[in-house]
Symmetry: C2
Subunit: 336 residues, 2 copies
DNA sequence: TTGAATTATGTTAACGCTCACATATGGAGA
DNA sequence: TCTCCATATGTGAGCGTTAACATAATTCAA
């Protein structure tokens, strides 16, 4: 019958239960010193009014929000978005909620704007999934003294927390299996040069090249898309001497490589072996199934949150690397 | 030199600028009646103190937060996470920030918990990307009078806003091209039966079957993974009479189908044609490239936000469908 | 029975902002 | 010069919660 214009407050509950608002607050926060009788009365009143606590008021009063801000760059890629979802899941399990922003472009001003907003909003901490150096720097700059974890493979000052899946290890694993199969000429199709994952993977490739092999002409930059993988492979195949193996910077480009080889009538792995990176959905059913590097996004999410809690608690900064796992499928074999 | 224990408030700025707190508030909110001189003084003070507005206090005072809550179910799938990112991008462009939660399981209690939290947090509206009927119902229940948009293909009461990519149209497009090529026997590998997209696609498939064709034995339920697509295709190929085409419920399962056909030595599209759904990255480089249905996630994000703004403004509820687009590639052709 | 310790509850004042209203300026028109 | 209105600024209260302190009720040992 009654017009419920505005939602009930703690005072309404207190009134109905015949206690003070502070007692209601105590019930709400599970304070030990509340008699069971009072607890019952208050719970009753809460239920009958459909009372819901106002978190803005709580945040204002306590200075803490149980919310973390998560910034993700390059959201169109599967990796960053997988990281976001893993982080969110872990955060919620730990009683934290996530405020998020995804950036497609690589604009430091946008990074600053997002981080500033998180701070204004009163988040307890920030996790930034940064794919480029620009993004890392803008984050470091803007985050100030706010507890922050950088999920990046880029360089971070020793007094900052950072974590990432070990891109170098992953690329090493890819190169190790190829070298173990006695491949003498291993080409690499990398991601964009400004992408930190791309450059770490490419650097590992270069370092792991079989002794005496000249990297010139064996490295082509792609943009993570299957089309660019296809195009890069076609370019490699136009050379006089063909590589015996191609290490694609990610699985999607690997798909492009497989198709290029198919179109050119070159068998895999008989003619050329192919290795990808990421272990995306469907990589087990390409033709042939793609040998690749599996990334543990879930582990990354857990580690990020673990580090953030340390940062919030004021512990000393540290960095972590999440191990990768080589998945051997049919696209790799001994060269002819 | 000075110990900056707590961050500066509007009062500190007012003091330094020699004006009242209300004047600072006016500057902060671009109120017209502020002299340029005062504006300058205040801006100066804000900059020199490094003042940042406290949004919790603002939310408490105004009752509005410029934050929307986005709930996403089945986050391990590419569709829902693409929708989330598109929604977030559109929201931020419109001056809204996103609080999010992703659910992997299909537990109505979790849905309720998340929606309740959004409400407690003081969001201005909620967008729920719900893949199952359970999730839709829990959302309807929990959201109450909060402006809410359901991104779902499920049934929603007429007084609620909803939108989704038109799954029925997409499946129709897939069937239309196959029937246009004179396929007489079209099998379908669906997603999980409790998935609304899966069931709409399957229903369209059933309705569009060539006249007189018996659907029995032509429908197999998968779980969206390439492995399940592979297994389902193998089952279909074990039948006495083979279908002339296979409509896979999504591209990932389509990859499995392609590999199964390859393993059985059946040419595509010569022996059997294959159509997928989603147009995921890499679908253009499968062997052969996969004919599929493209989903406009960006358009979905824009539409969701558009509807949510209407809901917040108190407009009458309505529903929308985002059109799909048929992408014809090499995996479809006339049957032998 | 008494007094201290313990438990249960109430009172008041923040938290940092905006709203509604009150007041002070500065011209323009008479 | 005075009134009137628009522009510019200040004052006080309130948003809904928790923190800090004060008080009342209970328990327990001496």
């Amino acid at each position: 019958m009654e017009e419920t214009r505005t939602s009930p407050t703690i005072a309404d509950v207190a009134h109905l239960a015949g206690v003070s608002h502070q007692t209601v607050s105590r019930v709400l926060n599970n304070h030990p010193s509340v008699s069971t009788k009072t607890h019952h009365k208050v719970s009753q009143a809460i239920a009958s009014l459909g009372y819901r606590r106002n978190l803005a008021a709580r945040t204002l009063a306590t200075g803490t929000s149980r919310v973390i801000g998560v910034l993700v760059t390059r959201t169109h890629l599967s990796g960053p978005s997988a990281a976001l979802l893993a982080i969110e899941q872990t955060a919620r399990l730990g009683g934290y909620w996530v405020s998020m922003a995804g950036l497609q472009r690589n604009d430091p001003k946008e990074v600053t704007e997002v981080i500033s907003h998180f701070i204004d909003q009163g988040v307890d901490g920030i996790i930034a999934v940064a794919q480029t150096e620009t993004a890392v720097e803008a984050t470091l700059q803007a985050s100030g003294s706010m507890p922050t974890v950088l999920v990046t493979s880029g360089a971070v000052p020793p007094d900052r927390f950072s974590v990432d899946i070990d891109q170098g290890e992953g690329a090493d694993q890819a190169m190790t299996i190829l070298k173990g199969l006695r491949h003498s000429s291993i080409a690499h199709i990398s991601g964009p040069h400004d992408d930190l994952h791309a450059s770490v993977r490419a650097e590992s490739w270069r370092r792991a090249l079989p002794a005496g092999q000249d990297p010139n002409g064996l490295l082509i930059e792609g943009d993570w898309t299957s089309q660019s993988g296809y195009g890069a492979a076609m370019t490699l195949l136009a050379n006089k001497t063909l590589p015996t193996a191609i290490f694609a910077g990610n699985d999607t480009m690997g798909f492009g490589v497989l198709r290029a080889l198919h179109d050119r009538g070159i068998g895999v792995p008989g003619g050329i072996s192919v290795v990808g990176f990421d272990d995306i959905a469907g990589a087990d059913c390409s033709i042939p199934p793609l040998t690749t590097i599996h990334q543990d996004h879930h582990g990354l999410g857990q580690a990020s949150m673990e580090l953030l809690l340390e940062a919030i608690a004021g512990h000393e900064a540290r960095s972590m690397k999440i191990p990768t796992q080589l998945i051997v499928r049919a696209s790799t074999g001994v060269p002819a």
